[in-house]
C-alpha cells in the first residue's frame, strides 16, 4: 500500500467515507436535505478525485483492484449516475413517510460496491463488490418496508441474490480448484487457451456457474425471472439504481474479464453467451408485449436490452468493447431518465405505474411527456437519440463478427420491442377520457434537483445521439488498454 495506491483508490475511499459520514450525520441529527447534500458532495468529491487518480494509473493496487483508464471511466459513469439518482431520490423521498436518510447511505454503499466490481481483478474483490452491492440493494429495495410490494420484492431479491451468490461462489471454487489462481487476468489466459494452461471441464463448469451469478445480476434469460417483480416492488430510485449501477458495473466487469479472451468463440461459454443474448432479446421483448405496468414493462425491456448488449459482447474484434460500452452508456442514461421522469411524476405516497395513469400525459405535462417519449424512443433505438447510435454500434460489432443469427434475432425482437414502446407512447399522447375526474398525476413544479438531472440526461441523450465522435474517441482510448 503506497501513497500512489491510495491516490488511485481515492474515489473509492472518498465514497466510502461519505457513506460513513452520512451515517454518522444521521446518528447526530436526522435531516433529509443535509443527508442528500452530503451524499452529493461526497459523490462530487469522489468524481473530482478521478482526475487525481488518473495521474497514477494504470496501476494494480494489491492483487485485488486494477485501476486503469477503463476503471476510471466506469467509475466516473457510476458516480455520475449515483449523483443523478440522489437528485431524483430526494424529490421522491420527500413525499414518503418514515426515515429517508438511510437511503443515501445505502445508496452510496451500493455505488461503492459497483466501483469495486468495476475495478476488481481478483475473485475476492469481485465477490465482495458483488455482495456490497447486493446487501445494500436488499435494504434499498425493501426500503419502504411498510408497504407490501417493496417488502415482497426485497424478500425475493434477497433469496434469489443469495442463491445466485452461492452459485457464483461455487463456480469460483471450482475454477479456483482447477486453476489454482483467483486472478482474473490469469483466468483469462486460461480461456484463451494458452499452451500450458488449458482449462479442464471443471473449469468450464465453474465458469458457467459463475455466469449464473453474473447473469442473475444482469437479468439475462434464463436468470431473469426476478426482474419484473423487483422492478415493480422497489421504490423508483432504487429501481433506477438496480437498472443502472448494478447492471452497469456487473457488465463492465464482465466486459473486462472476458474481453481479453477475444478468442472465446466456439467455447461452451461463448455459446452460453450467444444463447443468453438471443433468448434475452426475444423473451424480454415478448414478455413486455402486453404489460400494463410501466415499471414491469421497463423491467422486461431491460432484459431485452441486456440481450442487445450481449450481442456486442459476443462479437469479437476491436468494435465489440467500444460498441458495448457505448450501448451501455446510452442505455443507462435512457433508463435512468425514464425512471427519473416516473419518479418525478409519481411523487405521491402511492406510485402510479399503471399504463392508464399516463393516459394523456402529454396534454397535461407536455415537457415531461416529451422527455419521456424521447427516452422511450431511445430505448426503441430511433435516431436522434443515443439509443439509436448504441444499437447501430452493436449491429456494426455484430456484423463485423458475422453473427448473422443474432443480428436477425435483434432485428426481429427490436421490432417486437418497438410495439410496446409505441403502446406507451400512444397512451402518453392519447386524449384524456371524458370523465377524467381523478387527476392521476399531480400538477406542480418539478423539483429543481430532479429537473436539473433530467435535463442533463435528456441533453446527453441527444448529444450522444447526434454527435458521438468525442465520446467514441474516449471509449476507444479507454478500451485500448483492455483489448
Amino acid at each position: 500500500m503506497t501513497a500512489s495506491d491510495l491516490v488511485a483508490l481515492s474515489p473509492l475511499i472518498l465514497l466510502s467515507a461519505t457513506a460513513l459520514v452520512v451515517m454518522l450525520s444521521i446518528a447526530i441529527r436526522r435531516h433529509h436535505g443535509a443527508s442528500a447534500t452530503l451524499a452529493l458532495l461526497g459523490l462530487a468529491a469522489s468524481f473530482a478525485s478521478l482526475r487525481w487518480a488518473a495521474s497514477v494509473t494504470p496501476r494494480q493496487v494489491t492483487g485485488l483492484l486494477l485501476i486503469d483508464g477503463y476503471t476510471l471511466f466506469y467509475w466516473g459513469v457510476l458516480l455520475a449516475l449515483a449523483a443523478a439518482v440522489v437528485l431524483l431520490a430526494y424529490s421522491y423521498l420527500e413525499h414518503q413517510t418514515g426515515h429517508q436518510e438511510e437511503f443515501y447511505c445505502l445508496m452510496l454503499l451500493a455505488t461503492a460496491g459497483g466501483l469495486v466490481l468495476v475495478a476488481s481483478s481478483h475473485m475476492a474483490s469481485l465477490f465482495l463488490g458483488f455482495e456490497i452491492l447486493s446487501v445494500s440493494l436488499y435494504a434499498l429495495i425493501a426500503y419502504l418496508h411498510l408497504q407490501r410490494l417493496p417488502l415482497e420484492a426485497g424478500v425475493k431479491y434477497l433469496v434469489l441474490a443469495a442463491t445466485s451468490s452461492a452459485f457464483l461462489l461455487f463456480g469460483m471454487a471450482l475454477l479456483y480448484s482447477e486453476t489454482g489462481s483467483m486472478q482474473l487476468a490469469t483466468l483469462a489466459r486460461f480461456y484463451m487457451g494458452a499452451p500450458n494452461a488449458a482449462l479442464g471441464a471443471a473449469g468450464w463448469a465453474g465458469t458457467v456457474l459463475m455466469l449464473t451469478g453474473i447473469g442473475f445480476k444482469l437479468a439475462v434469460v434464463p436468470f431473469h425471472l426476478w426482474t419484473p417483480d423487483v422492478y415493480q416492488g422497489a421504490p423508483l430510485p432504487t429501481t433506477a439504481l438496480v437498472a443502472t449501477i448494478s447492471k452497469g458495473s456487473v457488465f463492465a466487469l464482465l466486459l473486462r474479464w472476458f474481453h481479453p479472451a477475444g478468442s472465446l468463440a466456439g467455447t461452451p461459454v461463448w455459446w452460453a453467451f450467444v444463447i443468453m443474448a438471443a433468448a434475452s432479446m426475444l423473451a424480454g421483448n415478448l414478455l413486455a408485449l402486453r404489460q400494463n405496468n410501466v415499471k414491469r414493462l421497463l423491467a422486461y425491456s431491460s432484459i431485452a436490452h441486456m440481450g442487445y448488449l450481449m450481442v456486442a459482447f459476443v462479437a469479437a474484434g476491436p468494435l465489440a468493447v467500444q460498441a458495448a460500452t457505448y450501448y451501455l452508456l446510452a442505455y443507462v442514461i435512457t433508463i435512468l431518465g425514464a425512471f427519473g421522469i416516473m419518479s418525478v411524476l409519481c411523487s405521491g405516497e402511492e406510485e402510479c405505474c399503471e399504463l392508464e395513469d399516463y393516459r394523456g400525459l402529454f396534454w397535461q405535462r407536455p415537457v415531461l411527456a416529451a422527455m419521456f417519449s424521447a427516452m422511450l424512443l431511445s430505448l426503441a433505438g430511433i435516431p436522434l437519440t443515443a439509443g439509436f447510435l448504441g444499437k447501430f454500434y452493436v449491429m456494426a460489432a455484430g456484423a463485423s463478427s458475422a453473427l448473422w443469427l443474432l443480428l436477425f434475432v435483434l432485428v426481429a425482437s427490436s421490432t417486437i420491442g418497438l410495439y410496446y414502446y409505441l403502446r406507451v407512447l400512444v397512451v402518453l399522447f392519447s386524449s384524456l377520457p371524458e370523465d377524467h375526474v381523478k387527476v392521476m398525476l399531480p400538477r406542480g413544479r418539478v423539483p429543481a434537483g430532479a429537473g436539473f438531472s433530467l435535463a442533463v440526461l435528456v441533453i446527453l441523450l441527444f448529444v450522444f445521439g447526434l454527435y458521438p465522435a468525442p465520446l467514441w474517441d474516449l471509449i476507444r482510448g479507454i478500451s485500448a488498454g483492455i483489448g
Binding site: 407490501r148 434477497l158 443469495a162 469460483m172
Partner: protein, 87 residues
C-alpha cells in the same frame, strides 16, 4: 451439500427454511473453497471462506429483519404468499 441446499430452497416454502437453505449453499461453497485452497496449498481459499462468512452474516441479518417484516404482512411465512406481483 450445495445441491441439497438448492433442493431445499426449491422445495420449502417457509422463508426461514429458505434462508437456512441459502446458508447451507453458502457453507457448501465455502467448503469447496477451503478444499480448493487445500489442494493448492494456498491460503487464499481460507481467506475467501472468511469473506463468505462475513457475507453470510450480513445477509442473514438483513434477511431475518425482512422475515420479521414479512411475517407481519403474511402471518404464514409462506414464500408463495408473496406473489402479488406477477405476469
Amino acid at each position: 451439500m450445495f445441491l441439497l441446499g438448492l433442493a431445499g430452497l426449491l422445495t420449502r416454502r417457509n422463508l426461514i427454511f429458505t434462508l437456512m437453505c441459502v446458508e447451507v449453499m453458502l457453507n457448501a461453497s465455502g467448503l469447496a473453497f477451503v478444499a480448493a485452497g487445500s489442494r493448492w496449498g494456498q491460503v487464499d481459499g481460507q481467506v475467501m471462506f472468511l469473506f463468505i462468512v462475513a457475507m453470510a452474516a450480513a445477509e442473514v441479518s438483513v434477511g431475518l429483519a425482512m422475515v420479521l417484516q414479512f411475517h407481519r404482512e403474511h402471518p404464514t411465512l409462506d414464500s408463495d404468499a408473496g406473489d402479488e406481483m406477477r405476469g
